[in-house]
């Protein structure tokens, strides 16, 4: 019987080890928010537990919210360009605009046209960066990287990885064809198919964040299309040869916003969390999160970031980069489905 009692005892111990009930905040986020260095200071300050759930892609995030009940979620992190979608579906609550530190933000990152609907503010930008071209500068000619056309010129066949997210890469392909991301429609999408397939043909793999990082770091591929500081920054210390640039055709600027979920049972705590994230302290931790790095929206975070971190983020070059990058495409449901289907077809060609 001894070996039966043993699991029973350890079970009891385990049960006792489970922490008691503290106030909890439920946040639906991207993976950069799961870094304890970001979350723990907030938990300690307010004596609460922050529950984090990651999701991938706006459609999946909205599907989770659709299936939830009011009060299930308190905070939502979402693609800045998709805030309006979440508002239309009734998932975001209005924020008190006067209490947000947007005056300290990089002006381009206030993004009022995205975060505000009918004059009401529903979200605030927290982080941004670029989907462009990452490469190993010892293995490719950096001059070639200034022109997207060189990717499919044949010179780099089999040495390219594509980041596995349809919106930015389709956006980049559009820029390569001289189509602005805002002009991608059901009519212009078919014209992107051939260039996308050509890019696929020249590439070795289509990979998610980690696989793309691994591939670049280990020399599996020399170029990652769709990459940027978020892909290479965490590797900068290990492999200083990794670099990124914005080609002459331009690049995409990604931006993520944070807001309070409609129906939350603790709006004050949720707002505190949002304010913490956009405070200089929260912004610095978010910018250098272990999952991926990115520029903070709040320019005052610069004081809380080390010089090395700022160098990796290219803090000083932001004005030029901001001027040359376009926002993500904002597809409606039908176009979104068409874009995803095109992407799936490309994956399985």
């Amino acid at each position: 019987m001894a070996h039966i009692r043993l699991p029973a005892t350890s079970l009891a111990l385990l049960l006792m080890a489970t922490p008691g009930l503290a106030q909890e905040l439920n946040a639906l986020v991207w993976c950069d928010h799961t870094d304890p260095a970001l979350i723990e200071p907030f938990e300690q300050k307010f004596g609460v537990k922050v529950n984090l759930k990651e999701y991938e892609g706006t459609a999946a995030g909205l599907a989770i919210l659709d299936q939830s009940r009011p009060g299930d979620w308190d905070v939502l992190v979402i693609d800045a360009v998709d805030v309006a979608r979440a508002v239309a579906a009734g998932h975001l609550a209005e924020l008190p605009a006067d209490k947000l530190p947007t005056a300290d933000f990089f002006p381009e990152l206030v993004m009022a046209e995205n975060n505000t609907v009918d004059g009401k503010t529903y979200a605030v930008t927290e982080k941004f960066g670029y989907n462009t071209i990452s490469y190993d500068k010892t293995k490719v000619d950096p001059a070639d990287m200034a022109d997207m056309a060189s990717l499919t010129s044949g010179k780099y066949d089999g040495r390219i990885g594509i980041y596995d997210y349809y919106l930015p890469v389709l956006g980049l392909v559009a820029l390569g064809q001289g189509v602005n991301t805002a002009d991608i429609t059901a009519d212009t999408l078919p014209a992107l198919k051939d260039p996308l397939m050509a890019l696929r043909k020249a590439s070795k793999q289509v990979a998610e964040v980690v696989a793309a990082q691994t591939a670049l770091a280990t020399g599996e591929v020399d170029i990652v299309v769709g990459g940027g500081e978020w892909l290479t920054a965490v590797l900068a210390a290990e492999n200083p040869n990794l670099d990124w640039t914005i080609p002459k055709q331009g690049a995409l600027r990604w931006a993520q916003s944070i807001g309070v979920v409609a129906g939350t049972s603790q709006p004050d705590l949720a707002l505190e969390f949002v304010n913490y994230i956009v405070s200089p302290e929260g912004q610095a931790a978010l910018a250098t999160s272990s999952c991926y790095w990115g520029m903070p929206a709040n320019a005052k975070a610069g004081a809380a970031l080390s010089d090395e971190a700022k160098a990796v983020l290219r803090w000083d070059e932001q004005p030029e980069f901001l001027a040359r990058a376009q926002l993500y495409p904002i597809p409606d449901a039908a176009l979104d489905t068409a874009m995803q289907d095109l992407w799936t077809e490309m994956l399985n060609q």
Partner: protein
């Protein structure tokens, strides 16, 4: 009340919890999934109803059909290769290794089985990479001049799978071999059979139940797996489970994901009937 009737009531009583559990959490969910597979999407909302559109799409859209074909090809290759590699291993352990060491030999052969499944695929990624141990060794030995591209191809997926299933099959085949009485082989030899004939006509047929049971488990586990092709295949091509997860994770298209799962289930059922003659699932 008669004794038989009392017994029968008792029997049903003991059986009921397991039957109810299986009905509530296996059969009912499956039916719910089948029902959902006939729903459709209007923008981002699910419209319930009876619409075979998802199935029509699976069999007419080349992207979907290709995923099914990929899955079948990979699974068949993995199953055959695993059996061919595992059979001699099981036989060597059963016939060459001294009896008192056999248990240890077997335990060692399946020990990596207990590394976390997700981590195992990840370590194959490290092993097979351009700068991985395998390529470093091949380059060092002068076998190849350029590092081999293994990761992000079908080969990597197949290697990852074969590694796992060789362990599984070694177990099922060994269990079968060890039950064979050496008298069979001796009798055949006495009757003038040479070693090859003994093997081909006596031992191999007798291990068929072990082989088929293991092969069927391999088929089921392999065709339904998401992790290995996702981590090792590098999206070079899509398998059915990857397509299902894409529909769930990115598009939120539950009806299409359900329909794809029903197709997957149908394939497995076909395999079951093909193998049923030799299957010994209640004797695993």
């Amino acid at each position: 009340m008669t004794l038989a009737a009392r017994d029968r009531r008792l029997g049903w009583g003991l059986l009921a919890p397991a039957l109810i559990w299986t009905a509530a959490f296996f059969i009912l969910p499956f039916l719910a999934m089948v029902a959902l597979s006939f729903a459709s999407m209007d923008g981002r909302t699910v419209v319930h109803g009876f619409d075979p559109g998802n199935y029509v799409r699976i069999f007419t859209d080349w992207t979907m059909l290709k995923a099914l074909i990929n899955s079948l090809e990979i699974t068949l290759v993995v199953t055959v290769v695993s059996v061919v590699l595992a059979w001699p291993l099981a036989a060597i352990i059963a016939f060459r290794v001294p009896a008192r060491w056999q248990r240890l030999a077997l335990l060692l052969a399946v020990l990596p089985f207990w590394t976390s499944y997700v981590v195992r695929s990840y370590s194959w990624l490290l092993v097979l990479g351009q700068n991985g141990v395998v390529n470093k060794a091949l380059l060092g030995l002068g076998v190849v001049a350029e590092p081999l591209q293994i990761v992000a191809t079908r080969s990597a997926t197949v290697i990852g799978f074969v590694h796992f299933f060789v362990m599984l099959l070694t177990l099922t085949i060994y269990a079968n071999l060890i039950q064979l009485s050496p008298n069979y082989a001796r009798a055949a030899q006495d009757l003038g059979a040479n070693r090859w004939q003994v093997f081909a006509h006596v031992i191999l047929p007798l291990t068929l139940p072990g082989v088929v049971t293991g092969a069927f488990l391999t088929f089921v586990l392999c065709i339904g797996d998401y992790i290995t092709p996702q981590i090792l295949g590098g999206n070079a091509e899509l398998t059915l489970p990857q397509l299902i997860m894409l529909q769930l994770g990115r598009s939120g298209n539950f009806p299409l994901a359900s329909a794809l799962s029903v197709v997957l289930m149908a394939v497995v059922t076909l395999a079951y009937f093909a193998a049923s003659r030799w299957l010994r699932l209640d004797r695993v």
